[in-house]
């Protein structure tokens, strides 16, 4: 593995640029901000592409205390997450050029938008638990301004709620970290775990508790029951591009944390068949079902999508806790697909609001007539999320179910797939009405006042690309599956 400082470049560039943007005076022209930002994330994206395609790289920055280095490393998992993040970030970024025109304090939005990108990349490239934890806390702090951007009382409260929930999770993680530090040889992420068998014997119960707390802690950001309360509050109040990345990407930081803890710190073998696995599977399945139900009865579109995130991210978690290569592959696939799909859905919802100011599903009757392209994108994404072949969601769900059968976990082997299916039905139930009502508004729809409201190309392009990705990746998934299976196999 080569040591290279280049790893820091995509991390530092957006952070520094974002800080500069926050600190400098408001420039006269809006376009200055926009094009600077665009330049920065394009360069960053190129760097990330370079790193992802290159070999595994690592870099030790400095030592926090005697045994705690701040250490970066790019490995298979990091590459997957980093690529997804970059793609979504760039697309949502271009979308926001148009969307944010109507909002105040654009400078602040783009500043934090850039910083969060850097922090997320740092999170993906973190090579040990402490580095990861450090950036995890920073992520919470720095993404909070995106949530409360609109600064209505509701938004501020949501921002605080988001932050405090996340810190609560982070501290649960820290609780576990303390114990892991005692019983592990190192805190560097190593496939199959780092626990020292000599120290471990006799303390399994303690370590399992630690593992439970760590996983539970990270699951806060992933919106798993019982810590999902912040998510439906925080995501909808943010501006649409922010909601999109929050729901599509930032929740995945929690997923990444769980992957790191389960497969790189404790090791799948240590947790397999323990009460921790049972508890986590139960919780994730509960969340899958509950999230869908709540989404189904929710009226506001963005909030409905937020509940949908709660449900969908727990699909991923379910796959992770199966501790099975197929399940893990399914999870990783779903990470990627859900990122594109959810981002696309939120951007669509944003486009509806931006153009018509309509928030609830009921108001959107006939929207398909006004904004057909947008609604088509929405529909494609919905189909993918429901998992109708050949759209992408089908592939990931397939692998999840295969994993569930493989894992041989008594009840969960059949209960898991059943819940996933029921949830898929509910997904159809809460997503498709927009499409159906949008295109088939019914007899009493007033066609006379129909105005075409299709958004500008800059806004439409990201939508189309995301929808296409969501669909096409389902049609030609082989490369992804091969790649991800290899990564998953390494981790077991």
């Amino acid at each position: 593995m080569k040591e290279s400082v280049t790893i820091l470049f995509p991390v530092c560039l957006p952070i520094v640029a974002g800080l500069l943007l926050l600190l400098v005076r408001q420039p006269k022209k809006r376009s200055v901000i926009i094009w600077c930002s665009a330049a920065v994330w394009t360069v960053t994206a190129l760097c990330v592409m370079g790193l992802v395609c290159g070999e595994e790289t690592s870099f030790t920055l400095f030592f926090l205390t005697g045994r705690l280095p701040v250490y970066f490393r790019i490995d298979g998992i990091g590459k997957i997450f980093a690529s997804v993040i970059t793609i979504v970030w760039v697309l949502a970024g271009f979308y926001s050029f148009v969307y944010m025109k109507e909002e105040t304090c654009e400078k602040r939005f783009f500043g934090y938008y850039l910083i969060v990108l850097g922090v997320l990349l740092a999170l993906d490239f973190s090579g040990n638990l402490i580095t990861f934890y450090a950036f995890y806390e920073m992520l919470t702090l720095l993404s909070m301004p995106l949530v409360l951007h609109e600064r209505s009382r509701e938004a501020v409260m949501a921002g605080l709620k988001y932050m405090f929930y996340s810190f609560c999770g982070a501290y649960m993680v820290l609780f576990g970290v303390y114990f892991v530090y005692r019983y592990a040889n190192t805190l560097s992420f190593t496939a199959k775990g780092v626990l020292d068998p000599a120290l471990l014997s006799g303390n399994e119960g303690l370590l399992l508790t630690a593992a439970f707390f760590m996983v539970l802690g990270f699951s806060v950001k992933a919106g798993m029951f019982p810590f999902h309360g912040w998510l439906p509050v925080a995501h909808p109040v943010a501006p649409a591009p922010a909601s999109a990345v929050l729901s599509g990407i930032i929740v995945k930081a929690g997923v990444l944390g769980i992957v790191r803890v389960v497969y790189f710190i404790f090791g799948a073998d240590f947790l397999r068949g323990t009460w921790v696995q049972t508890a986590m599977l139960t919780l994730s399945l509960t969340t899958v079902f509950m999230g869908s139900m709540l989404a189904y009865i929710e009226k506001g579109l963005k909030k409905r999508l937020a509940y949908s995130t709660v449900s969908q991210v727990s699909y991923i978690l379910f796959g992770l806790f199966l501790l099975d290569p197929a399940g893990l592959t399914g999870s990783l696939l779903h990470v990627v697909f859900h990122a594109f799909i959810k981002c696309g859905l939120f951007l669509c919802a944003g486009a509806f609001i931006f153009k018509t100011g309509k928030h609830t599903v009921g108001e959107l009757t006939g929207i398909g007539k006004e904004m057909p392209v947008t609604v088509w994108c929405y529909t494609l994404c919905s189909l993918a999320l429901i998992g109708i072949p050949p759209a992408s969601g089908f592939i990931s769900k397939w692998y999840l179910c295969v994993g569930a059968f493989h894992a041989k976990l008594a009840a969960f082997s059949w209960l898991g797939p059943v819940v996933l299916l029921v949830s898929a039905l509910l997904t159809a139930g809460y997503l498709l009405p927009v499409t159906i009502r949008g295109f088939l508004p019914g007899a009493d729809y007033d066609y006379g006042s129909l105005v075409k409201k299709e958004p500008v190309k800059m806004m439409l392009a990201p939508l189309v690309i995301l929808a296409a990705l969501a669909f096409v990746l389902g049609v030609v998934p082989e490369a992804l599956i091969r790649n991800f299976s290899a990564v998953a196999a390494q981790m077991m």
């Binding site: 926090l64 205390t65 806390e137 209505s152 501020v156 501290y171 303390y178």
Partner: protein, 491 residues
Amino acid sequence: MNPVMMLAAVLLPIIGGALVMALPFKKRLHMEIYLEVLVLATSILVWAILAEGPGERFPIVKFVHNLSLSLKLDGCGMVFAGLVSALWPLAMLFSFEYMKKEEHEKVFFMFYTMTYGVTLGISFAEDMLTMYFFYELLTLVTVPLVLHTLTREAILASRKYLYYSLGGAAFAFISLVFLLVYGSSLDFSYGGVLVTEMTAGKENTLLVVYVMAFLGFGVKAAVCPFNAWLPQAGVAPTPVTALLHAVAVVKAGAFAIIRLTYYSFGTDFLAGSWAQKAVMGIVIFTIVYGCSRAVKETHIKRRLAYSTISNLSYVLFGVTIMTPLGLAGAFTHLVFHAVMKICSFFCAGAIMHQTDKHYVHELNGLGKEMPAVFGTFTVSSLALMGVPGLCGFISKWNLANAAVMSGNAMAYVGIGALLVSALLTAIYMLSIVVRAFFPPTEFDEAGTKEYRDPNWLMLTPLFVFAAAMLFFGLYSAPIVQFFTDISNGVM
């Protein structure tokens, strides 16, 4: 280094401070220069002493029996002396500006300077009696500072402070007598002074005495249920609240408990006993209690005071783990918390000084007008929460690590308490930050336009502290190593 220098360091600020009243200063500036030079000279003297390392004992006065007042420098004292000597000159600088608005500042500066000497006396004390003496003296010289504003509130607060402190000392005093009887001497020696042959069969009695003394000294360290004085004492001018009620006085309590636990009773005697469980339980409860009250409180200084209560118990938690690592953790937090809390108090002071606002809900949108103050406040908030990269993380890490290493189940609960408290810290600190930087839209921007950052006298300490927090957060290995050496009894 001649051990007389220690006495000189103790007396210099006491006498110099008393002279403030006598000297005829023509201008305020002259007094400021005089005081700053005095305090700096003392600090330099202290650093010179510290650089020399542990030294011989220096007896001052002889009392009954074999009791005497004597000074001696050891590792534990070095930590505390080093801490206060670093903070005092900066705090002085801050208070020059702050006290411009207050009346009879000469009295204030007199006692403020004298407190420095007394605090040094506590850290240099060689034995329990000397420490007790300076400890009582500390109470007395700080009362006028609490009393300063002479409002009804201040009177009540200073009374309460006095009653609590003297009462606590009275119980601590009992332990002194027991040590006199059952110990080989009152001197502080690492590992304790109890004589095994004499204590045989009396263990429980001595443990009861230990718990009483812990609570007695714990009054200054604001251990629950003896913490009520601290938030109330917040009526004092901010330099007092910041330096004394976040560092010197309250840390003197924690320092005394360290002395009591590690240097008088000895951890061999205490570890594993019911007394350890009892005090640890109290401390853990205080950690959570302090934070919860801070969340509820809306007065900025009182909120910070409650936060201090909780954080002091972090230090005591380290102490009650009763292992060398625990002591190292306690030292780390003792020092780091001092930096963090003094910074946040100074920010609060700067806010109150510039805007006359005292309550959290009045701070909406001030971050834009006073970026330096709120920036440093944010840094100190994050440090207090224990965000990695700032010093609070290191001290929490060391404490938790010690707790894990101790293998004591109750200490595990303590870790949980630390983290719950960290979450609550996030709530009570960041809600201020968010308010200041991201006020709700209905807030009227015109109302805050008149406010500005304070001048350099106030800002310098803030920046120095913020830099220190970052520095220690990123590069703490040498200082932590130093603490570990001390707590292993090397120094």
